[in-house]
């Protein structure tokens, strides 16, 4: 069945790239942004890319994450506390992937969402390095992003194979 992916921070560059990739992979996309109007440009872009794309904007990040199977946090790390407060209750057991620029940021997200299946996403050239302890979650995300045309490199923190951009 079609996976539902919530993108928080739909107006951010990574939010746009990831939304396009998940939409290409055939996922249903729920966009939310602190300023909902900002997500409209991305919604139009998704529909221009594929008129059949199942996507919409939801005003409330909590509602979109409640409905989603996979949650992507592309909003700036500075808004982490606010985002976590909104999604914590509805993200238990779900794959939550956050765009991070350091392993410290990834650890803070993971600690804040102990009952979610956390994966960090670090930009690496034209693609992303996926890092996390949950192999199934890593694999599911990798498959979807690759199906959507994104370059991805799965990694596990314990294996010491982190991308350099994740090491502070």
């Amino acid at each position: 069945m079609k996976q539902t992916v919530a993108i928080i921070g739909a107006d951010e560059p990574d939010g746009r790239i990831l939304a396009l990739a998940f939409a290409n992979a055939g996922c249903r996309i729920l966009l939310s942004d602190k300023v909902p109007q900002r997500a409209h440009a991305l919604l139009s872009e998704l529909r221009r890319a594929n008129a059949q794309t199942d996507a919409e904007i939801l005003d409330c990040a909590r509602t979109s994450c409640w409905e989603a199977d996979i949650i992507i946090v592309a909003s700036p790390f500075a808004s982490r506390d606010e985002v976590i407060a909104k999604i914590r209750e509805v993200s238990t057991g779900k794959i939550v992937a956050a765009v991070v620029s350091s392993s410290s940021a990834a650890r803070q997200y993971a600690r804040s969402l102990p009952h979610s299946r956390f994966v960090s996403l670090a930009s690496a050239g034209a693609g992303y390095v996926l890092t996390g302890d949950d192999d199934e979650a890593l694999d599911a995300l990798r498959r979807l992003l690759e199906a959507g045309g994104a370059d991805v490199v799965p990694s596990r923190p314990s294996a010491g194979r982190q991308h350099s951009s994740l090491n502070q």
Partner: protein
Amino acid sequence: MFDLLRKHILKRIDLTKAEFQQCTTYFIPKRVRKHRYLLESGDVSRYAAFVVKGCLRSYTIDQAGEEHIAQFAIEDWWIGDPYSYFENQPSVYSIDAFEDSELLLLDRASMEKLCLAIPKFERFFRLLLQANFIASQRRIMQSLSATAEERYLQFLKNYPAIFSRVPQKQIASYLGITPQSLSRIRRHLSKHA
């Protein structure tokens, strides 16, 4: 979000506050909007879904395109396809929402982990499966031996809350009769009430 689940569990087993808190970490909160799917036939039913709010149905579609409803579920009920869930096989059922619904989902791995972490849940799930087995047996017996009117009256008795929330056509499908037959039965019963 978890109040109804707590009451539902406490009707069957005793749990401490700490045990209940721990148990909530195994359930996936999921919102399904009206007309959206929780399961599509051909996919494996990965979740047993506890309904916190809303109304859903599970059904199959035959070769002539006719829907056959296997189950309705409202608040405090579970819905899923046990065969597909336990055997990890594609389901012949689809499950969709009649109303905007709020669910708590439990996958197989989490059910096992929950039973290992809090063994009292072995009894909880045994009681659920026991009730599900009895309900299935009754439904089979009714399909084989009861008249359409008897099936309708039993439905009203067993599921009064569903009756007002689900279109007549869907109830007819659940009973295995046409909507016209259901109308006739209702007219007949109202004349003799």
